[in-house]
């Protein structure tokens, strides 16, 4: 509680700063995550136990919750369930050192929005936090337009300027995912989960090859590259105009 209050009061930029509550009992891990989130402009409060975390989440109403699966006192899933029971619908990212598929399913069933297995890359965490906070609104737009790129969701066709681009269905899905998240880092893990519905890590560098293929279709010689690689993190769609 006493950790949350000052940080809530000291919100510097009310327009930009999102309040994130981190519930994590590994203090060193928590400190690193907190610093990294702060560096990215988020307002972070930390709770080291499940009980504190639940009280802070209920009273503070953060914009996003990052919660460890295994905590002393109340475990992560119970916290999420209690919050959902009380109609608190902030996005929740569950961190866990527990196994893959089954635990993941349990985490999402309990009301988590995303699930990240330890150890994870900080850049992966940042990308997912951003994705959760900037979740594309459920609009009924039939056309996505980013810079010179236009995607017709009804006809499932793509155009850059006036040049029409021939895409396979999976490539279309991939591009639509990027276009719903312009200027936002998208990681390989996110793409595997959302585009290929694949929850294991293929050993080869598959995603890069797929992105490479998509890039060759999107970019004609002389045009700026739309999907750029972010070293050590993933990819980002940058509008060209």
């Amino acid at each position: 509680m006493n950790v949350l209050e000052p940080s809530l009061d000291s919100r510097g930029d009310p327009n930009d700063s999102c309040r994130i509550l981190l519930i994590e009992d590994d203090l060193e891990m928590a400190d690193t995550i907190r610093r990294d989130l702060s560096d990215n402009g988020y307002d972070v409060a930390h709770a080291a136990s499940g009980v504190d975390g639940l009280i802070m989440a209920e009273s503070g109403g953060p914009d996003l919750l990052i919660v460890d699966r295994m905590l002393p006192g109340i475990d992560g899933l119970t916290i999420v369930q209690r919050l959902r029971d009380r109609n608190m619908h902030m996005p929740v990212l569950i961190l866990s050192a527990l196994g893959e598929v089954n635990e993941r399913v349990r985490g999402l069933k309990a009301g988590g929005d995303d699930y990240l297995t330890k150890p994870f890359a900080l850049s992966e965490l940042m990308a997912r936090v951003e994705a959760l906070l900037r979740r594309p609104s459920e609009n009924r737009a039939t056309e996505l337009r980013i810079g010179s790129l236009t995607l017709d969701l009804i006809e499932r066709s793509a155009k850059r300027n006036d040049r029409s681009i021939d895409l396979l269905s999976r490539e279309f899905k991939l591009l639509a995912y990027f276009m719903a998240r312009p200027n936002q880092v998208v990681t390989r893990g996110m793409l595997l989960e959302h585009i290929w519905d694949c929850h294991f890590l293929p050993q080869s560098n598959l995603i890069d090859v797929h992105i490479g293929k998509l890039r060759r279709k999107l970019d004609s010689p002389g045009e700026p590259q739309l999907i750029q690689s972010v070293r050590g993190q993933g990819f980002i769609l940058l509008p060209d105009a």
């Binding site: 598929v101 150890p119 890359a121 929850h199 890590l201 050993q203 080869s204 090859v209 797929h210 490479g212």
Partner: protein, 478 residues
């Protein structure tokens, strides 16, 4: 001694011995009973007939016969007497008409004291009384004491026959019990050593085919399997340690040196980046191992359903197509017939993906890989043939073992866990996967999506709830 008496062999022999004794006793008792009944009836008839014959004789001859019979009887076996109408003794060796004896010419069983109160012993006697035409009374009798002798003989025979047999049986039982105990003790010694970690120990077993030897052979089989698993686990442990230590020691050295040597921000950044790659590699191995363990032990039955293998093969190819393209490898998809397997779609996808990944990895650039889906007689199957180096027959089982990497593949990146994952998935479903070499080289991996028994153990078992009483059909009335 106590342990011998408690041994199962002794107990079994003791039960048989007791059963034998009871049977022998019943048999002898039956023989005695039958003989006694027969003898009594014979003597009854004899005495009745004699009495009738004597009664017909004329007066003088009758008295003579009675006197002769009683005179010859020295051992109180045969009695004969004639009494006057007033009950006084005329001739013979009885003092009075036995009180209560019906004088109707029929045989009755009495005690000797009833015949002669001066005799104290209760010998059984068959007696016939009859009234002669001249109102005198004739009494004939015969002791059946010989039947008691017969009983004594029977009991003696029983004792002579059964008691030695009983002693023999108990002795034999103790001997057997002792031998059984010796064998069990020997087994206990071995099992105790096994428990203390000597897994190579085996129970002594002869090829006699006895139940004990069969048990010992079975236990030895089990011990062999356990030893293999433990060794495998040990190897896996060593391999995990090795495969984890390799990147960790690299990272450690890298960071240590970077901290000492790097002076610029760029140098340090580069070193850290390489360190992170090394750590990712290490955690990737742990993740893969946990996945395998999860697949091997999780309850997946609920997620089982019909899976269109052609569709899955298409999707796998879509995922891996670009990477094959980048190597100039052509992947041909050969769908000869519709094939539907029952299983977990995600896992079957992963298994096929791993097999294709392997095939692409080991196929030289600009060669080809074929993925075929077909409905074989044995069941739906997916076959992936590459044009790589193939796998020598002696290595085929090993490639499925965790972390096993053939020497020639050490240079190709990968955790060596891909085929283990395939194996885990296949086992979970009760399917099978086999490796063979093609006629023109290359490896052919065949995933047969059919269970041997036709059932899958992962399927949720029926709860077998009893029917509720109110669910029984109501009787039709009118």
């Amino acid at each position: 001694m106590l342990s011998i008496l408690a041994s199962s062999a002794f107990r079994r022999v003791a039960v048989v011995a007791v059963a034998f004794c009871v049977a022998a006793f019943l048999l002898f008792a039956f023989i005695y009973w039958q003989t006694a009944v027969f003898e009594t009836r014979r003597i009854n008839g004899l005495v009745e007939r004699q009495s009738a014959t004597i009664a017909k004789a004329p007066g003088e001859q009758l008295l003579w016969t009675v006197n002769t019979r009683s005179a010859h009887d020295l051992h109180w076996v045969s009695f004969a007497a004639v009494f006057g109408a007033s009950g006084d003794l005329v001739a013979g060796n009885l003092r009075q008409v036995p009180p209560g004896l019906p004088l109707d010419g029929k045989a009755y069983r009495l005690d000797l004291t009833q015949l002669d109160p001066s005799r104290p012993d209760n010998e059984p006697v068959i007696v016939v009384g009859r009234i002669l035409p001249d109102r005198r009374v004739l009494v004939l009798g015969r002791s059946i004491e010989q039947l008691a002798e017969l009983r004594a003989v029977v009991i003696r025979a029983l004792a002579l026959g059964v008691i030695p047999a009983l002693i023999l049986a108990l002795g034999f039982g103790m001997l057997l019990g002792h031998r059984t105990n010796l064998r069990i003790k020997a087994m206990q010694v071995v099992l105790d050593r096994v428990r203390r970690g000597h897994l190579a120990e085996r129970l002594p077993a002869r090829a006699s085919g006895s139940d004990f030897d069969q048990l010992a052979i079975d236990v030895n089989h089990m011990l062999g399997e356990m030893e293999r698993l433990v060794n495998e686990l040990h190897d896996v442990g060593n391999n995990i340690a090795h495969d984890l230590r390799t990147p960790l020691s690299r990272v450690r050295a890298l960071l240590e040196r970077a901290g000492r040597v790097c002076t610029t921000r760029e140098d340090l950044g580069q070193a850290v980046e390489r360190a992170v790659v090394g750590l990712d590699q290490a955690s990737g191995i742990i993740t893969a191992l946990l996945r395998i363990a999860e697949v091997e032990h999780s309850q997946l039955g609920a997620s089982f359903g019909p899976v269109d293998l052609s569709e899955v093969a298409h999707e796998v190819l879509e995922l891996y197509g670009p990477i094959a393209e980048a190597k100039g490898i052509e992947v041909r998809l050969n769908l000869t017939s519709a094939a539907t397997a029952k299983g977990d779609r995600g896992l079957l996808f992963e298994a096929i993906a791993n097999l294709l990944d392997n095939a692409i990895k080991f196929t030289p650039d600009n060669a080809s890989v074929e993925m075929a889906v077909f409905d074989a007689p044995a069941g739906p199957a997916v076959r992936i043939s590459d044009t790589g180096p193939g796998i020598a027959p002696k290595d085929r089982d090993q490639v499925f073992a965790r972390f096993h990497r053939l020497d020639q593949s050490r240079s190709i990146p990968g955790s060596g866990l891909g085929l283990s994952m395939v194996q885990a998935i296949v086992r979970r479903h009760g399917f099978s996967v086999s490796l063979a070499n093609g006629a023109t080289g290359g490896c052919i991996a065949t995933l047969l999506c059919a269970t041997e028994s036709g059932t899958i153990d992962a399927e949720p078992k029926s709860l077998g709830l009893p029917a509720l009483p109110d669910q029984t059909p109501a009787l039709q009335s009118g």
